[in-house]
């Protein structure tokens, strides 16, 4: 097969991809197209069963599209001989922290991917140390996973992917089973990797407050893209979001209700800080 040129500027290209679990079933992913440029942080939002997990699995050749195609750094996931290369470039973190850690020592788990890739022993050690320090887990390197909190386990899983030096990281509801502090912790870790190491992030979630922090939000419904835009634009469409079984941030909801009552507030209010800032421009400060 002809070698395709690697495309690192757009490490994830989904071109009208569909996926059907069974031949007669309705497609779980239905003609999705998206290009994710290098260094961006894209949130994929959708309710349970909207197809977001299936889409994630199309993104590193765990599933192959039944129609259309998916390109990871320019490599078509349907190319069998590139599959390990594709999975190395597009690392994946799953939902359940317990079910993706293979080894019973943290640093050995981080090594797992490197061992599979046949990385030489000496190089491995440096890469493991770097990955563990990037997720702030150096101190727990010799711990058994069951001694860690959910958030820490997810950070170990992230380190395991990070050590493979991926271009894109796909996090498939990586925070869904965590408590609020674990959730914040994992999100912060990934944001930092995105900013400092330039790793492209595809963050799959049903928490709108997480999606609100992305550069771009893609909302899935019935396997197809229902909305696509920057968070402030997407979340100002309150009724559409709700009709898709999702929530809007409380402040977006409040802004809408205030607007209905005649207050003139601009679009794109998502956080408490946004709201305070805008209200200061609108309200009379009575001392």
């Amino acid at each position: 097969m002809e070698q395709q040129a690697k495309n690192f500027d757009v490490p994830m290209q989904v071109e009208a991809a569909s996926y059907q679990y069974e031949e007669d079933a309705s497609p779980a992913v239905d003609g999705v197209s998206m290009n994710v440029p290098k260094g961006s942080f894209v949130a994929v939002l959708g309710h349970n069963g909207s197809g977001k997990s299936t889409l994630a699995k199309l993104m590193n050749a765990l599933y192959l599209p039944t129609d259309g195609r998916v390109l990871v750094c320019g490599m078509d996931t349907a190319q069998e001989d590139e599959v390990w290369n594709i999975r190395k470039h597009a690392g994946m973190v799953f939902q359940n922290p317990d079910n993706q850690i293979v080894s019973n020592v943290v640093r050995e788990d981080v090594a797992f991917g490197l061992e599979n890739l046949g990385v030489p022993h000496d190089e491995m050690i440096g890469r493991i140390d770097d990955a563990l320090s990037a997720v702030r887990m150096t101190e727990k390197a010799s711990f058994a996973p069951h001694m860690l909190s959910g958030g820490q386990k997810q950070r170990v899983a992230i380190a395991g992917v990070l050590a493979m030096l991926p271009e894109v990281m796909i996090l498939d509801e990586a925070t869904a089973m965590l408590d609020p502090s674990g959730r914040k912790d994992v999100l912060k870790t990934v944001q930092k990797l995105n900013r400092e190491k330039g790793i492209t992030v595809i963050w799959i979630t049903h928490f709108m407050e997480e999606a609100a922090l992305a550069d771009r939000v893609i909302v899935l419904d019935q396997g197809a893209v229902a909305m696509d835009g920057v968070p402030s634009e997407v979340f100002s469409r309150v009724d559409e979001i709700k009709a898709l079984g999702l929530d809007v941030p409380p402040m977006a909801q409040l802004a809408r209700e205030l607007r209905e009552k005649g207050l003139s507030l601009p679009a794109g209010i998502l956080t408490v800080a946004d709201m305070v800032k805008e209200l200061k421009n609108t309200l009379c400060l009575s001392k």
Binding site: H47, N48, M177, S181, G245, P250, A273, C284
Partner: protein
């Protein structure tokens, strides 16, 4: 049927090098008809506390009285306690095991030694309470259902024991917004129908703000606050210091107060804050 917790302490693995204090000198009384929100960080002792309330875990020190029964007394009938206090665990769908939904819900009533008619009657009633159809879903395997439906079946399994107190440990964990909303409104309906005291463990402030009549806040094994949501959410600094947040409405309320706006200081629902802002907006702009 009140539950009284007096000077309750619990230490896991006492006397071993792994010993860990999970609860320290906790005192609470749960009155009939309350809907209590039990808040706290992971590891604050919430789960250990609720497991004491139906005798699954015994106090190391202190006492727990359920309807006057001392759960740590020798020879106590724990089944009696468990009939009165139903406990729904976190991710309760993982405990389903029977071949049909009906059989699974019947497990509790069966353990209580009830007659077949009584069991069937209770299964129907419990399924109705959680909003799943006896006719359509009853004969299906619980493992074929969606996550949200499985959770309802699991809750019905506890409700079928007709407890006076229903305790739910993180009932919305892992659900998407629509699933979360529907479980919360189900809990609201269960409580509103009367007769049922509810204790809901949660770390989602927004979930709990709209439901609870009283909040209990735990931190590091101790009970640190107890009061109405209005009283509790007013104390934002204390909540933050133990790693908890407040509903965004309460946060906005405080932020606006700090900016010098003239608002009450104890608002915590979006509706209240909206109305307060509208009152401000209604003032004559020329005064500014």
């Amino acid at each position: 049927m009140p539950i009284k917790v007096e000077h309750l302490s619990h230490t896991y693995m006492q006397g071993s090098p792994f010993s860990a204090t999970a609860l320290h000198d906790v005192n609470i009384t749960i009155e009939d008809g309350e809907l209590i929100g039990l808040l706290g960080h992971t590891g604050s002792g919430k789960t250990t506390l609720v497991q004491h309330l139906n005798g699954l875990v015994k106090p190391t020190e202190g006492k727990v009285f359920v309807d006057g029964i001392d759960t740590s007394e020798k020879g106590v009938q724990l089944l009696e306690v468990r009939k009165k206090v139903g406990l729904v665990f976190q991710y309760p769908e993982y405990q389903l095991f029977e071949e049909s939904v009906i059989k699974d819900i019947a497990f509790g009533p069966k353990n209580m030694g009830l007659s077949a008619e009584e069991i069937d009657e209770r299964v129907r009633f419990a399924m109705n309470q959680v909003g799943i159809s006896y006719e359509d879903i009853g004969e299906r395997s619980p493992f074929e259902l969606s996550g949200g439906q499985m959770r309802r079946v699991a809750i019905a399994g506890v409700l079928a024991m007709r407890p006076k107190v229903l305790i739910l440990d993180e009932p919305t964990a892992g659900l998407d917004p629509a699933g979360r909303r529907s479980i919360l409104s189900m809990i609201r309906d269960l409580h509103a129908a009367g007769d049922l005291t509810v204790v809901m463990v949660s770390h989602s402030m927004d979930d709990i703000a709209s439901l609870a009549t009283r909040l209990i806040v735990m931190s590091k094994g101790e009970l640190v606050m107890s009061g109405t949501p209005r009283e509790i959410f007013k104390q934002q600094e204390t909540l933050r210091s133990i790693g908890l947040g407040v509903p965004q409405a309460a946060e906005l309320n405080h932020a606006l107060l700090a900016e010098g706006y003239d608002l009450p200081d104890d608002l915590y629902t979006l509706g209240e804050v909206r109305d307060a802002i509208l009152r401000l907006a209604g003032k004559d702009v020329s005064e500014c």
